[in-house]
């Protein structure tokens, strides 16, 4: 069951819509078991590796499994099944088998879960080919991307959900959201002063920073990639080529998704020259996430940190 409750409503609708959809989790809603049966809604022992392996086998033979991994830190329990198997089977079988399956998990919220259970490991999956990675920046996008993921035929999808998305959730809009194609960034605001790329829970902070800067006449372009694999590199590169400034904003460490995005961008002809070093990061330190809220405070991409980064870049040139 999801930290972002509206996703459970979406999943319920999708279970209703597609009889091949099955749900695996260590804890499942009793009402789903009644409604869809224990064969489609499977309460599993605490066996995440086997659950993901089973999801792969089910996907290869025609079902559409969704595994709720609960915490993103549990992704590290299932890496062999996910990376060495699910992500490789289409390639290994040279296209004979496909493995459409979805893994959902929660990243970080101010829940003080500590160094083990507060993590944003999506950057890892940007360098393990064969999985697609969605990190929505709003509850509405989360719902839309979940719908796409469970209807998609292409292969494994990881959906990383920041619990904080619940704070700004327009329930009606979220539930009504149509499936959204992967690989299409959302332009949250337009502008020329700098390109701000924000991910997941950091999108909200970046939006507030954008508003604040706009009030001062500094108009940044704010892009939420929504999916990291595939990444909407054309949109990101076009923006950066235009603004000549890049701020990467994430609640994970910069060695994660930000490093991956940056390296990918620099590979686009002209980007490095356009940027000329005007790159800033607002991200978590390169150490685990501590429990004490006082220690954790500096792990959040706050609007203040984002505006400061933009000001630094715009002042520089």
């Amino acid at each position: 069951m999801n930290e972002l409750a509206v996703l459970d409503l979406v999943l319920e609708q999708e279970l209703d819509r597609n009889p091949d959809l099955v749900f695996l989790a260590t804890s499942t809603p009793p009402s789903w078991r009644t409604r869809f049966g224990a064969e489609r809604v499977r309460t599993c022992p605490i066996s995440e590796p086997a659950m993901v392996g089973a999801a792969l086998g089910a996907a290869m033979t025609g079902l559409r499994p969704v595994v709720d991994l609960n915490r993103a830190s549990f992704a590290f329990l299932v890496m062999d099944q996910l990376v060495n198997h699910a992500a490789r089977i289409h390639y290994l079988s040279d296209g004979s088998y496909r493995a459409p399956m979805v893994l959902t998990s929660a990243t970080r919220g101010p829940q003080q879960l500590g160094p083990q259970n507060e993590q944003c490991p999506y950057g890892v999956f940007m360098q393990t080919p064969g999985v697609r990675v969605a990190v929505p920046g709003s509850a509405t996008d989360a719902c839309a991307l979940l719908r796409t993921a469970v209807r998609d035929e292409q292969g494994p999808v990881l959906l990383f959900i920041a619990p904080g998305l619940a704070d700004h959730c327009d329930l009606r809009a979220a539930l009504a959201a149509e499936p959204q194609p992967f690989g299409v960034a959302h332009r949250v605001r337009e502008g020329d002063a700098a390109t701000v790329v924000a991910i997941g829970s950091a999108v909200h902070a970046a939006t507030r920073a954008g508003d604040e800067l706009a009030a001062e006449g500094v108009h940044v372009e704010l892009l939420d990639p929504r999916t990291l694999v595939p990444l909407d590199l054309p949109a990101l590169a076009a923006s950066v080529l235009r603004t000549g400034r890049l701020v990467l904003v994430d609640d994970g460490p910069r060695s994660g998704a930000p490093a991956q995005i940056l390296a990918a961008l620099l590979d686009v002809p002209g980007v490095a020259l356009a940027l000329g070093g005007r790159i800033a990061h607002v991200s978590a330190p390169e150490v685990p996430v501590p429990s004490s809220p006082v220690l954790e405070a500096q792990y959040w991409a706050t609007p203040e940190r984002v505006t400061a980064a933009v000001r630094r870049l715009t002042a520089a040139a």
């Binding site: 066996s47 086997a50 003080q112 500590g114 083990q116 004490s292 220690l295």
Partner: protein, 338 residues
Amino acid sequence: MALALPADPAVSPMDPPQDGGLDLVAAYKAMVLIRAYEERILQARTDREVIGPVHPYIGQEAVAVGVCAALQPRDHLVSHYRGHGHALARGVDLDALTAELFGRADGLCGGKAAALVSDPATHLLLSSGIVGAGIPVAAGAAMTSQVRRDGAVAVVFFGEGALGAGVVHETLTLAVAQRLPLILVCENNGYQGATRTEEVYPETSVARIAEGHRMPVHRVDGNDTLAVHAAAAASVAVARAGQGPAFIEASTYLTRFHLQFDRPSGERRPAEELDGWLARDPLDALRGHLLAAGTAPDLLDALHSEAERRVEAAVAFARTSPWPAPELALTNLWAGTP
């Protein structure tokens, strides 16, 4: 003759039982402390003084206390997210533990760990938030004892849900093949979060698994401190003698609930089931023993008020402990780093 109240009121790793027996008053005292502590910590969580999730140990006190009473200071311990009970039974400093749960500078782990504490002073290696994951770590501590021939054992506590996790089975194989001095203590409370154990296992007892691994098994009433202690003492003796690991399955029950964040948990158990277990409360049971053996009720009541006083003092300590300096978030990534 009534047993005398130990002079030192601090909870500490209990002395090794001289006669293989258990100091019942000391055990009762420890259980009372845990109970008082857990109740208070839940309140402090509701009051948003404690940070993070709280997994209360209420109802299972006999297991932690019965097992830890069979240990010596040199032994190693591994716990998990529901670990305050184990920590207190082992003698972890009450003030430092509380400050840690409050996220303060004087916390056992400087505010980094919250409930997932480590404490070298009591050889508490770790309290993992990941079900089952601490079990091989305890096996590693047992390897050290084996190499050093120092006669220490390693003990690991876990719920029956951990038997779902593969790494636990791997450790069982490893421990038997390598005759590790490892004692696995399964606190079988019939639930794995919101899931009832019979929903996911063919039989609720997991002794069958350890038997499949050809590991000696003790099945005990986990609400009976003496029974738990006897099983632990026997297992420890075997392990210390280099004769390999043991598995203890202690049947017990969480009389409160699995977990709470900042609001009191809304979890509801079947009333009959709950009542049955409340009637078998481990503190009441041990109190019955003590009274039957002639211990003065006053003495036992005094332990309750003493526990409450100590817990309140720990809360006061935690409250006045400063917040950690923010820059300490970046320290201790690995040894030798700032």
